[in-house]
């Protein structure tokens, strides 16, 4: 029966092309939209994900990591006094204006971190040394945003919030969810760029001692440091992702795109498999007349759908992979990890099998006596 399914599929080339186009279109839509969603999850909170802190202290009521407001830097000492806290470091993420060489302005987000503790430092440094950020008026930018920020090479000088800055290094692939790229600097320099008094910080990052219960330490910090909010790393990740990915509607939109892709795929595949079934009704009737069971007929239809799914998947995932490759060096992150590729394969099989249900219903109703009717 498999050979009948396979050959029926290949027999009508036009229908096969239409079926595969439908599957590929749906798969690319699903994979790319879901990949974008994963990319959003990553880029929206990458500075939280990578900064190494176990606990965050912030002003009360902040919505997310990019929306902090100043608190007293002295609270760091109180936090350091809490048992279980190993390191406490000042940290900031804040929107500032970056002046381009042509005089125009771009928004950027200054990330100020404590070089000594390393908490919040940039990752994926491809040029320059972190120690170079100890120098006055220095910054790191990401190679993806060179053009946007008017930067060409190490040593370029520009203006950040009307203060002169010198580029001393580059990271690669630290994307921003917003249109404002991240610019890394030492906390002290960042304070200066922002005009934040020395007695103030935006966040205090805490690193707990090895083996210490982070949640219990959080409770202790809340007791020890008044008038602040304290978040675990996961709290801050969730809060930030929820704001940017779902609060802005971006995540919902991409997920909706993936669901639409799935629906389009089901409709297109169902339509083509159904019309193929109608075309082959007489053959199925002949099979039934000659002794094939309904189960054997279903198998032909299901195998046909599965073969279409496998062919469509190979093509679709290849196209999706090309799309991902094409965006590698852009500020748009589309993630297509192996587990998602496997999941998309599962979705494809499910899509094609569910699409063939209508055909199976039709095949069930075939009266084998039709074979004697002219």
């Amino acid at each position: 029966m498999t050979i009948l399914a396979w050959k029926n599929l290949l027999h009508d080339k036009v229908r096969l092309v239409v079926t595969l186009t439908g599957i590929v279109f749906a798969l690319v839509l699903i994979a790319v939209q879901f990949g974008m969603f994963l990319g959003f999850l990553d880029t929206s909170a990458n500075v939280v994900e990578h900064n190494g802190a176990d606990l965050w202290i912030s002003a009360p009521g902040i919505p997310h990591v990019n929306g902090g407001s100043p608190i007293d830097e002295s609270k760091r000492w109180k936090a350091l006094g809490v048992p279980g806290v190993e390191t406490a470091a000042n940290y900031m993420v804040f929107f500032l204006n970056w002046k381009l060489p042509n005089g125009a302005f771009e928004s950027c987000q200054i990330v100020g971190f404590d070089i000594d503790s390393g908490l919040g430092q940039p990752w994926d440094v491809v040029e320059g040394r972190l120690n170079d950020l100890r120098g006055q008026d220095t910054v790191f930018v990401d190679v993806l945003y060179k053009k946007k920020l008017g930067v060409e090479k190490i040593g370029d000088t520009l203006e950040l919030n009307n203060k002169r800055v010198r580029v001393v290094g580059f990271t690669s692939g630290i994307r921003s969810f917003t249109t404002a790229p991240y610019v890394f600097a030492s906390f002290k320099n960042a304070q200066n760029y922002m005009g934040l008094p020395e007695s103030k910080t935006i966040f205090i990052l805490l690193k707990t001692k090895p083996g210490v219960d982070v949640v219990a330490t959080k409770a202790a910090v809340i007791q020890a440091v008044p008038n602040v909010d304290v978040f675990t790393r996961e709290d801050m990740l969730d809060r930030t992702r929820a704001y940017w990915v779902f609060g802005t509607g971006a995540g919902t939109t991409t997920l909706l795109g993936a669901v639409l892709g799935l629906l389009v795929g089901i409709v297109v595949v169902a339509q083509t498999i159904y019309s193929a079934t109608l075309d082959h009704l007489r053959e199925f009737g002949t099979l039934k007349a000659m002794g094939a069971t309904n189960g054997q007929i279903y198998r032909v239809i299901i195998v046909q759908a599965l073969l279409a799914a496998v062919m469509g998947y190979v093509l679709g995932i290849s196209v999706a992979w090309l799309v991902v490759q094409a965006t590698t060096n852009t500020d748009l992150l589309i993630k297509l990890p192996p587990e998602i590729m496997v999941a998309v394969f599962g979705v494809t099989l499910l899509m094609c099998i569910s699409a063939s249900m209508l055909s199976i219903r039709k095949a069930t109703s075939i009266d084998p006596a039709m074979v004697f009717r002219g």
């Binding site: 050979i3 007349a289 006596a369």
Partner: protein
């Protein structure tokens, strides 16, 4: 030897005022080693009769005895196996699978009937009916006669005891028609199969043993063919 027998077979389509009796109490027998022809005008009930004989259609009442076993009233789920194990079907329109080669068309029935080495068996069947050179040909590349011979080879897969053929020569020219009839006649004689042919084609009469005329859903008359009469009275 009687392979298949009907007693007072009735088939009614529709209910109440719309009820139409397609068969009105048919009594007949299909015997091994003979070619039985069912003739009659359009709408007389021939196709309904052959469909019921082959377990494709259910009778309203009466009896169909296959090998001493009553098949009227069998559960629907038992009918596919009944058809698969006992009957070979040949259709007016050939009903070959266009996407499959001649060999694959036959092999798929061999697989359905769990015949060992289905591809080899299919090749042997096609060779036996003179299509050994056309194993890899698709139906679209075969003549009408060749298509019908492939259909015959397919009907023979699994070696069924009864062949039911619906207008097997209707779409064939005279030469191809004769070839097909010779094969069917040979099946009955050489392999002791029962062959039932539904037809309007008078050419068939030269190859059959017995003729049953169906009229208004009944057996109008039954006679030996001219050829059989000559054999009997020779």
């Amino acid at each position: 030897m009687v392979l298949l027998e009907t007693r007072n077979l009735v088939k009614t389509y529709g209910v109440g005022a719309n009820a139409v009796n397609a068969l009105n109490g048919v009594d007949m027998q299909v015997r091994s080693g003979e070619v039985l022809v069912l003739m009659g005008p359009s709408g007389s009930g021939k196709t309904t009769l052959v469909s019921i004989l082959g377990g494709i259609l259910s009778a309203t009442s009466g009896s169909v005895i296959l090998d001493g076993r009553e098949i009227v009233g069998l559960p629907q789920k038992e009918l596919p196996a009944l058809r698969r194990d006992n009957f070979g079907f040949i259709f007016q329109g050939f009903n070959l699978f266009p996407a499959l080669t001649a060999q694959e068309n036959v092999a798929i029935m061999c697989k359905l009937k769990n015949v060992p080495n289905p591809n080899k068996h299919a090749a042997e069947l096609l060779t036996q009916i003179g299509l050994g050179e056309k194993l890899k040909s698709y139906p679209a590349d075969l003549s009408g006669g060749q298509k019908q011979r492939v259909a015959i080879a397919r009907a023979l897969a699994g070696d069924p005891r009864i062949i039911l053929a619906d207008e097997p020569t209707a779409a064939l020219d005279s030469v191809s028609g004769r070839t097909v009839l010779e094969i069917l006649s040979g099946l009955a004689k050489d392999r002791d199969r029962g062959v039932v042919i539904v037809t309007h084609d008078p050419r068939v009469l030269d190859y059959c043993d017995r003729i049953i005329h169906i009229e208004d859903g009944r057996v109008g008359s039954e006679e030996l063919s001219k050829k059989k009469s000559e054999e009997v009275f020779a």
